[in-house]
């Protein structure tokens, strides 16, 4: 039984660390597309956290809304800005500088 508690604590610590790290990188990065992808990843990780906190209702909503719909909204905005930025946008398959 204590095995479960210890392993669970490790799991929770890793998820919490992952959340904080994702948030840190998301808010510090300079590339908008990277930030959006990190936001999606953050939403999915947060859904895992809700499960661990004991709130499966919230996990369902977070997976669908926080990651899915919000991510789509941001990607849409990115698309709009990429078209706006137009000529100095890099080729899609090209590596970032």
């Amino acid at each position: 039984m204590t095995d479960v508690v210890t392993t669970g604590l490790l799991l929770d610590g890793l998820i919490a660390l992952l959340l904080a790290g994702l948030a840190f990188r998301l808010l510090r990065t300079r590339d908008l597309f990277e930030a959006i992808m990190l936001f999606v990843a953050y939403g999915l990780t947060l859904a895992l956290a809700w499960i661990r906190v004991g709130a499966p209702d919230i996990a369902l909503a977070e997976a669908a809304l926080g990651a899915g719909v919000t991510g789509a909204l941001f990607l849409n905005a990115w698309h709009r800005l990429a078209v706006r930025a137009g000529s100095d946008d890099r080729l899609p398959m090209e590596a970032d500088p």
Binding site: A16, L26, A49, I58, L73
Partner: protein
């Protein structure tokens, strides 16, 4: 130190990181992202902090409030994104503050009469 404490700490860290970014980052889309993250930090605290009888099941009341909050946050995000995009389309700049040296006066100011 229990699992729930870990999530409270994560919520506090995420909230403060996002608060810092809202204040310091000038790019509007990062501000929207950061406000979203502030909300999730609050949700984490709201669900993980209260005392409970059964550590495996969260309070139904905060759960209902957080569920409401998530849905409203998505609507607010859409509105904020729409407004940010509109600002960017009118000024061509992703920043709200206009630098007096390099920028023209606000092109939005003389609104044509309807």
């Amino acid at each position: 130190m229990t699992s729930l404490d870990l999530y409270v700490w994560a919520g506090v860290v995420v909230f403060l990181l996002a608060l810092h970014a809202v204040v310091t980052r000038a790019h509007l889309l990062w501000k929207v992202l950061a406000i979203n993250l502030m909300g999730t930090g609050v949700f984490l605290i709201l669900l993980a902090a209260p005392a409970r009888r059964d550590p495996m099941v969260a309070d139904p009341l905060p759960q209902g409030m957080v569920l409401t909050g998530i849905v409203v946050a998505v609507a607010a995000t859409a509105l904020a994104l729409g407004m940010a995009l509109r600002v960017m389309a009118r000024t061509g700049s992703p920043f709200l503050t206009v630098d007096p040296e390099t920028e023209e006066p606000d092109p939005d100011a003389p609104e044509p009469p309807r």
